[in-house]
């Protein structure tokens, strides 16, 4: 077995046997053991790991829920309540899944925010950002269809409102809507296909997450200083340094999500969804889940239906081109004194949009939604592409080690900006 002996990398002969035929063990060693992380990364860099773990928890809890769920309009509501009452720890599965969805979005929003503030979407990580936006889109689709499954009032009417949007598209709209619903109105055909798609989409997300992680590992992670890794001294090994940091973040996250799951499991739920769906009774206010509410606010801010739909989809589509809208060569907002505040205002604005998206679209709320809408697009189309012309970035530190030791911000290097390119 001379061939094998050349590949004796590991003490364990079984690992060698696998490694020789499929070098998966060295791959994991390289990507999750030796992978160099910039050592100045703060806890915002733990949210990618948190999101991945949440996704896995959602998939596992979802599989067990699906074993007990009946996708039929006459039985869906009761089958969910049966899970809550008669399935062993069914209430736990269901509350983990429903609150997990909300926390998935919280975690992903912080992750996106992190990427925007520290310029993680810029060269050479543009594709990574695009894959991330795809994940976000898939998450929204999954969350929307998952919300329909309990077949409560909000499920039914939310599905009706959202699928009605497609009928605004000229010429093909009405046909497209019927094709999506499988019927003229939201009914059993719709519930069945939403269940099928809600089951499969998370696995698609998992696949794209795999690409997303593989892509970031090519050029390495960004860091709060937004400067490139120059030497080995700038980094720490993923294991154990980042793993331990992420584990601590997971514990803190565990405490927070457990507090909600066990002591306020319905805080983020709409009460109307505990009333079985009734096509003859429209709820007073049809509201989406809070994590989709900013886009609902944009939709309703426009008096024209087609215009609202276009702007709503546009508000997501514009995220794809962010890496090319931002013309500044400086990644991190720590060194962009003006843009920094516009980015923070963007976050606040997104939050406010979500808030008014949950309230009736009238009077002051409508006005706020319209101002928020203008800022949302203004941020991407005016501020981001042109701010670098009037902004003088602070001088970048020489290297990550300088930042880590605390002297980084004072270290002057007038040429650093060019080096980033």
């Amino acid at each position: 077995m001379s061939g094998n002996s050349e590949h004796r990398k590991y003490k364990n002969s079984f690992l060698n046997w696998i490694e020789f035929r499929l070098p998966i063990i060295s791959y994991f060693e390289k990507e999750y053991g030796d992978y160099p992380m910039p050592k100045n990364c703060n806890y915002f860099w733990s949210f990618g790991a948190l999101a991945t773990i949440t996704l896995v928890v959602m998939i596992v809890s979802g599989i067990f829920l699906a074993m007990n769920y009946t996708p039929h309009t006459d039985m869906a509501f009761d089958s969910v309540e049966r899970i809550m009452r008669d399935v062993n720890y069914g209430w736990l599965l269901r509350y983990i899944h429903s609150n997990g969805a909300a926390f998935f979005f919280i975690v992903v929003y912080i992750h996106i925010l992190r990427g925007m503030y520290y310029g993680s979407y810029k060269y050479p990580r543009e594709l990574n950002w695009i894959l991330g936006v795809f994940i976000y889109l898939l998450m929204m689709a999954s969350a929307f269809m998952g919300y329909v499954l309990p077949w409560g009032q909000m499920s039914y009417w939310g599905a009706t409102v959202i699928t009605n949007l497609f009928s605004a598209i000229p010429f093909i709209g009405e046909g497209l809507k019927i094709w999506l619903l499988g019927d003229y109105t939201v009914g059993n055909a719709t519930l069945n296909r939403f269940f099928a798609l809600h089951y499969v989409l998370p696995f698609v997300i998992l696949g794209v997450v795999g690409l997303h992680v593989a892509a970031v590992h090519v050029h390495g992670s960004n860091n709060p200083a937004g400067i490139d890794i120059k030497s080995k001294n700038d980094t720490v090994r993923f294991f154990p340094y980042m793993v331990m940091k992420d584990a601590l973040a997971v514990c803190v996250f565990g405490v927070i999500i457990s507090a909600v799951i066990f002591f306020g499991p319905n805080l983020m739920a709409e009460v109307d969804n505990y009333i079985p769906a009734d096509p003859l009774v429209t709820p007073a206010h049809i509201v989406p889940n809070w994590y989709l509410a900013p886009f609902y606010a944009i939709l309703r801010a426009i008096p024209d239906k087609l215009g609202g739909v276009l702007l709503m989809f546009g508000s997501i589509a514009i995220l794809f081109v962010l890496p090319w809208l931002d013309r500044s060569k400086v990644r991190s907002c720590n060194f962009r004194p003006i843009y920094k505040w516009f980015v923070m205002l963007f976050f606040v604005n997104f939050f406010i949009l979500g808030y008014v998206g949950m309230l009736p679209a009238e009077g002051l709320y409508l006005l706020i939604a319209r101002i928020g809408l203008v800022y949302y697009f203004g941020f991407f189309l005016i501020i981001t592409p042109f701010i670098h012309r009037i902004e003088t970035p602070k001088s970048l530190p020489l290297g990550i080690s300088d930042v880590y030791l605390g002297g980084g911000k004072e270290a002057l290097n007038p040429n650093a900006q060019k080096e980033i390119i």
């Binding site: 209430w91 927070i256 805080l267």
Partner: protein, 250 residues
């Protein structure tokens, strides 16, 4: 420091949504099941079940409950059999192909007062009495709303037009409802000698409804304390390990 910011961000986002669903002018009642270690008072649950049986169940169904569930509120196996046997269910078809009536068993769902929704509407001037199985989860402010609502019947204010067969209630949307005041002082006689004034009857029946909607509440809170403690202890250990590890990084 940054760690604290992250925690605050989390708490901020959750507390805002928590506040949104819990704030408002609804007066709060002191419930035994509130709080981290809240539990249901078994005696109150049994009294509340009696109020449901004698008052609410005339019109309102509780289709999601089984008679066997009553063991959770302290009834014995034998008592549950007796309670179930008071009701009649339609079973069948038997070997002759006929449907037949029989006494309900613990494995049966709570028997509804009406055969179907249409009969329910017909008997109540077109208004459908909602199922009460998850009613405290299906109304904003939950149990506090139900409590205030049951006690919220009053004379309408001067000049307010009340529709035919409608009643004034200060908590319901639009202040008019077709359900008459359900509970008065002494509506139900308690076997255990508890004072049966309207406040007590209402508190008991709402406690029962809360249990019906969230029968897992006690187990949930109990498990929650353990899970959170687990994360806290594990997190503390990891914190020290992580600090020791990162001290070497320069």
């Amino acid at each position: 420091m940054r760690f604290i910011i992250i925690i605050l961000l989390f708490l901020l986002s959750t507390s805002i949504f928590a506040a949104e669903s819990n704030s408002g002018p609804m007066p709060k009642h002191k419930w035994s099941f509130n709080g981290i270690t809240g539990t249901f008072d078994r005696a109150a649950l049994q009294r509340g079940f009696k109020v449901y049986q004698e008052v609410c169940s005339g019109c309102h169904s509780m289709k999601l409950l089984y008679y066997r569930d009553l063991r959770d509120i302290g009834f014995s196996e034998a008592e549950v059999k007796v309670i179930a046997a008071e009701y009649t269910v339609v079973d069948g078809p038997n070997d002759e192909g006929e449907m037949y009536d029989r006494d309900a068993r613990p494995a049966d769902r709570f028997v509804s007062p009406y055969a179907n929704d249409n009969e329910a509407r017909l008997s109540n001037n077109g208004a459908y009495p909602p199922d009460l199985s998850v009613i405290t989860k299906a109304r904003k402010y939950g149990e506090d709303y139900i409590y205030n609502f049951i006690l919220g019947y009053e004379e309408p204010p001067e000049g307010m037009e009340i529709g035919d067969g409608m009643y004034y209630n200060k908590w319901v949307g639009g202040n008019q409802i077709s359900m008459p005041q359900p509970i008065y002082d002494g509506s139900v006689d308690y076997d255990d000698g508890t004072d049966n004034n309207a406040l007590q009857l209402t508190e008991d029946v709402v406690t029962f409804l809360k249990w019906a909607a969230e029968p897992e509440l006690e187990v949930r809170k109990n498990l929650g304390i353990k899970v959170i403690l687990f994360f806290l202890v594990l997190g503390t250990f990891i914190y020290f390990v992580k600090n020791k590890l990162w001290r070497e990084v320069d």
